[in-house]
């Protein structure tokens, strides 16, 4: 069983549309995992049903028992996040500011502060329209530890894939280079970079690839909107050559991407002969890398 992670650095390059298409083409030979837990969109194309939902607990937040509090202010003094201001003459923890370090609870002379585990979201196993399962998640607003939820989604997908003897786990990764991406990448066998020939597309894919290199994972690249800027496409080609990354496909700028999405379909279903054909070839290449 191999794990393929699709990332882009920059948002809006078509990462999720491409991932859903690959998942559609791979059908029941894979388990799908949506690791963009912050703004998960893949379910809009994969149509999950029969949700099996589990709460996800991670991290702790401070809470002050006002009956025990003697208002000495030590907690507020040691807090590096200024998360315990005085509100209406009481020390009150601001949940969105609390980092969960627990320092306040350690210095409280009356044991008035408890650190309580937080339900930061949930993770879900669903049946999807391609006769397989998808693992996805929903992170609570402003929640931390999205990296840990990403790790949970990936692990559950792996367990499912091994149990049902699937060939691949196909992962829709998160944008950026921070903790959710690091979690998305760890343990992956192959990374597919989805980029576009724009100054920002190139800038961001280069940065995220620096991270991929730290993990030593093999990478391939799909260039989306490949006909909007020939000079920038050349620049991407040079980058791929220098870094020894395989060019998997170039997809032209096409509003069918949006039309398919509006109908809740993958682009492979909506336009099987045009872009669908390009993606079909892409999946054939990816599965052999």
């Amino acid at each position: 069983m191999k794990e393929i992670v699709i990332i882009s650095g920059k948002g809006g390059t078509g990462k999720t549309s491409v991932t859903a298409s690959l998942a559609y083409l791979a059908g029941k030979s894979i388990i799908v995992a949506d690791c963009d837990v912050d703004a998960a969109d893949m379910h809009l194309l994969m149509k999950p049903v029969n949700d099996r939902k589990e709460d996800f607990f991670s991290g702790v937040l401070a809470e002050i028992d006002q009956d025990k509090c003697i208002k000495c202010g030590k907690c507020s003094n040691v807090c590096r996040w200024k998360a315990i201001p005085i509100v209406e003459n009481k020390y009150v923890v601001q949940p969105l500011d609390c980092e969960g370090c627990g320092y306040c609870s350690l210095v409280c002379p009356t044991d008035a502060i408890s650190m309580n585990e937080q339900n930061v979201g949930n993770w879900i196993i669903s049946d999807v329209k391609t006769n397989t399962q998808m693992v996805h998640a929903r992170l609570g607003i402003g929640a931390e530890n999205s990296g840990k939820l990403v790790a949970k989604v990936k692990n559950e997908a792996k367990v499912l894939a091994e149990k049902s003897e699937k060939d691949f786990v196909v992962v829709d990764g998160s944008p950026g280079i921070g903790c959710p991406v690091v979690s998305s990448l760890s343990g992956a066998n192959l990374v597919v970079l989805v980029t576009e020939p724009s100054v920002s597309g190139i800038h961001d894919v280069k940065r995220v690839y620096e991270l991929v290199k730290k993990f030593g994972i093999k990478a391939g690249c799909i260039i989306n909107k490949a006909d909007i800027n020939p000079d920038k496409v050349k620049e991407i080609h040079q980058f791929l050559e220098t870094e020894n990354i395989q060019l998997i496909a170039e997809i032209p700028y096409d509003e069918n991407f949006t039309k398919a999405m509006t109908m809740g379909k993958t682009i492979v279903e909506y336009d099987p002969d045009g872009i669908g054909e390009i993606l079909k070839n892409s999946w054939e290449k990816i599965r052999k890398i």
């Binding site: 912050d38 969105l96 724009s198 909107k225 909007i228």
Partner: protein, 286 residues
Amino acid sequence: MKIAIASGKGGTGKTTLSTNLASLLAEKDNVVLCDLDVEEPNSGLFISGELFHQEDKHKMIPKWEKDECILCGNCQKVCNFNAVMKLGEMIMVFPELCHGCYACSELCPTKSLPMKPKKMGELKHYKLGNLEFIESRLIIGEEQAVPLIGQTIKYVDENFGESTLKLFDAPPGTSCPVIEATKDADLILLVTEPTPFGLHDLKLAVETMNELKKPYGVVINRFGIGDAKVEEYCTENDIAIVAKIPNNRKIAELYSSGKLLYNELPEVKIELEKVIGFIQRQRENL
């Protein structure tokens, strides 16, 4: 006045709106544009200018000094993030896990874990006429964007007065980096696109703003593509649609070369002026 430009979904046009708006505003007034998407900062690709100031940004992490250490293991016990561990006769610090709470350092009975600065990124400050542009970039491999975002906002606060108009280009999503980037703002502009992905992520962004109790308005980018559901949602929920930037291949082409849009596309300029009008009305209400 502080305005954050945010979105749930990435790639909806936050940077396009931030850079074009800042540049247009700067034709008449002093403006600060600050890129808080420290993981993937892009505003600087569209705004040039003269480098005015540059500084390294650090986070504070503990460093073990073994001479006085009695290996009591208290540091490991107090760390909620598994960033400090006692391994045999050694104390190991894992910098990327450390949140910088100081508990291990200040509660150490022999003061053997003093906090030392570790570089996490760089801040750069550029000037271009009336426009002050500030960006920070996170070092690749550093996982926590929040401390760098916080320090970047602090730099802006310390260098510019309250009356200066400040635009903050926020990171995507709804989790901790976005909260950090938007929690001090007076007004939020949520950029979305009229597609199912755009609508789904806009709803998350709206939930976040309601949680933060912030005033906000929506800018629809790529207007004309997709469907009418974003508009319907905004109308049903009494959310102001501030502007509709049209969908146009020409925009994608200009953007791809790092060019600003409003000089070449009057239809974009009209929409930006609507955004400026909205900002001015909100400013009068402050």
